[in-house]
Symmetry: C2
Subunit: 478 residues, 2 copies
């Protein structure tokens, strides 16, 4: 990709990483004179001055979204330096683009005037998005400069949860009546300074702002100018309510290839619209949240967060993991007598637990994914369980036999080999069963099936694996 780069033979997909790397270098070399730069005092050394000019030039050329990426990729100190040098008129846009964790660190460094200047040019929905992270005084003063309608919009947007359509909608509506001709619409549009981003359709409403349909620009452009809007507009409209779940709305955008969609209230009155760029963010964040949660991170983390912030973000899952590991340890403790007699058991038991955990994670990941994309409803659980159990049985017999044979040869004991086959098969069956039941139960209970599923399944297959293996060994080998 390229944004018509200066060097036309180099595409921009290649240029951005190079720019970022160069900014890193420059920021690092300017770090020693950070305080002078912050105080806007001139730099004496010529070489540093050249660096400073180059850095400012690079930053001014970057799109706000790219500045956001640069800030996210920098350690705290360099980040502050670059933030200080970035174009202040883009501050608001950049704040909207950075991750929540980094946004906090940036806002902390700004005083009230800077913040007010940054949010001055933002739309109502954008101001609402930042409002939670801004000091109350700033929000209050920023609202004072807006008119009544915009204040109401900010408040409306702020009244919805982050995962609701209402928090993501904007208010840049272009709407027309159904009884005018396409020619009139075209003339009406020409009176705008510019049309809102992503405008791919115009909303058709009646006298009470009730949504009647939409007029896709694609149709407007090819329609006979004399034709009335009501004969050209689409009445089968995908529309949302502000209370709708943002993830489900994003899936609808994906499924029906939407670019924008109207948001209506309970009386079908048009109140806002959602655009694909917000939905893409939802899709990205949703998949990432699942991945982070499965790995035991509470939320997205600033790569260069202070150590204690990182510790806090991770301590909960570590603590839970420690508890489950302790339970597994007590299961082993109960069989210390057996281990004392056959020490080989201690060496073999992690294999049984490990394969159960791995296989259970495969099952649970597949099911969590199927649930996220709406492929799986509760009443298929029984059928899926049957299939997963069959897969586990095949894997158990194959891999159990392999490891059974290896154990037999290693410890010269057919008994240990047979216990190994049986324990591995049983633990795989346990993993398959629990791997289906945990996410199904979580979803029935109205909870996110991804949350902690990996830790839970590993807990079961660890303790279960030790119990099965040591139990069988105690019964048959002692």
């Amino acid at each position: 990709m390229s944004i018509e780069a200066q060097n036309p033979s180099q595409t921009d997909l290649e240029r951005l990483p190079l720019d970022i790397a160069r900014i890193h270098e420059l920021a690092e070399s300017l770090l020693p004179v950070y305080e002078q730069i912050e105080a806007n005092r001139p730099l004496e050394e010529h070489k540093l001055n050249t660096c400073l000019v180059e850095l400012i030039g690079l930053l001014r050329e970057l799109h706000p979204a790219d500045v956001a990426t640069v800030l996210e990729s920098l350690p705290q100190k360099e980040r502050m330096l670059v933030w200080h040098l970035a174009a202040p008129e883009e501050d608001g846009e950049v704040l909207l683009e950075v991750s929540d964790a980094v946004r906090e660190t940036l806002i902390e460094t700004m005083d009230k005037e800077e913040l007010l200047a940054a949010v001055e040019d933002l739309d109502a929905d954008e101001l609402a998005e930042l409002a939670d992270d801004l000091p109350n005084q700033v929000v209050y003063e920023a609202l004072k400069t807006r008119d009544e309608e915009e204040r109401a919009q900010v408040q409306a947007a702020m009244s919805y949860e982050d995962d609701q359509v209402g928090a993501l909608m904007d208010f840049e509506l272009v709407s027309i009546r159904a009884d005018v001709s396409c020619e009139v619409v075209l003339r009406y549009l020409r009176r705008f300074e510019q049309l809102p981003d992503h405008t791919d359709k115009i909303f058709v409403v009646d006298d009470h702002e009730v949504l009647q349909g939409v007029l896709p620009i694609r149709k407007l452009l090819v329609a006979d100018p004399e034709e009335r809007v009501e004969n050209v507009m689409a009445t089968e409209v995908v529309r949302f309510r502000p209370e709708d779940d943002a993830e489900e709305a994003a899936q609808a955008f994906e499924r029906y290839d939407l670019v924008t969609a109207p948001v209506v209230d309970e009386n079908k009155k048009l109140i806002g619209r959602v655009t694909i760029d917000e939905m893409v963010d939802v899709i990205r964040e949703e998949s990432e949240a699942d991945m982070l949660n499965m790995a035991g991170l509470q939320e997205e983390e600033d790569l260069f967060a202070p150590v204690l912030d990182s510790v806090k973000n991770r301590w909960m899952w570590l603590a839970i993991n420690l508890c489950t590991a302790f339970i597994a340890s007590r299961v082993i403790g109960a069989f210390e007598g057996s281990i004392a007699k056959i020490v080989a058991l201690a060496a073999l038991m992690p294999i049984v637990a490990g394969i159960g955990g791995n296989s259970g994670n495969q099952t649970i990941t597949m099911i969590v994914r199927a649930m996220a994309t709406g492929q799986l409803s509760g009443n298929q659980a029984r059928r899926l369980l049957k299939k997963e159990v069959a897969v586990a049985l095949v894997n158990g017999v194959i891999w159990g036999s392999v490891m059974g044979l290896v154990s037999w040869l290693l410890y010269d004991s057919p008994g240990i080999g047979l216990v190994m086959v049986a324990a591995m098969t049983l633990n795989l069956l346990l993993a398959a069963t629990v791997g289906v039941l945990i996410p199904v139960a979580m979803e029935k209970a109205g909870r996110d099936p991804a949350l902690g599923s990996s830790v839970l399944i590993t807990a079961v297959t660890d303790s279960g694996g030790f119990l099965i293996f040591l139990g069988l060994a105690t019964i048959f080998l002692l």
Copy 2:
């Protein structure tokens, strides 16, 4: 969301799952007469006939993307029944929407005539997308019905890898010259039957089809009709090359909020365009692939795949896991003498290994994610390593002390407690180091850092944890 549902009080976000559930019920009840339905023989039983009529009606109402979701959510037998009953004129669209695994099962049931009918109305890029899964004879005959230009487009699209922009571009280009007036453009557009999906900009080219700029529809609509295109068009254009990486292109779409973008060849000649709907699929698949790979699944799996297909999809990671578990087992085996003397070691060692694995997975997931979004470049690895080591040290001292105390009390041995503190801290430090180094090394080697990272880190922290704990115990406690 709703597509103006029959029952206007019910929104469609709620309706689709209900429809799907009802289709499941109907398909199940019709299963006994599957053969009669397939042979298009009339059903004798009145009740079944009513079911059949309702099922066909429901399917005809659904969007092809929703039919795809229904098919993905059905077990094989019911899936075939529903596929047989779905509107044949939508077959091509549905095949494009379903996952690769399910697509194969559907194509298997269709004969040559059905397949040719299904792909008849598809665009060149869509035919190219399906071509890999279609029998050669079908592709050959489908191409015969196309004109020279379309055949060239299909072949061009098929010549790129799945993860390149070229495989995702389409050829529905609307292009104009720079020296005409906006009025002329509007008149030119009116001659189209309809404009391509997602048209948000018109491409401006010279006499040799070289891209000069783009004319956003938003600007065209508000421009003075007398104004020439060259004065209205944007020349800073985000454009791609067909060889560009699809993931990076998708990130550019996300960053710059694009709806469509031109694709040009090495001479800057316009050859195609990419649209946001394809990019959304890339974003979704990319995050999912990371998640599946980390859990040890090779690829997206049909939920109701035959047991042996599922076994095949999972066996590789299970085998790798088994190998690493075996190595860990041999590490323990080397300390059998120590365990025989202090059996408590066997019970405590999984705790040390477990916390290392959990913590290492947190680190590696965070880094893999940062790499996927371009936040992390190689030269920050050292700094990140320092931070992660510091986090590990804090966690090690806190949780190590907790478990050290518990072990001391449990086994009434301060020595075991101290070994526990030291081993946990050291294994956490190992996990942090390897958790940073594995993805950085993978990326330097040009490989996907997500692939197998979880299995690798667990292998290191398991074997490493056992070695550290049993080693320290052997030195200090025996």
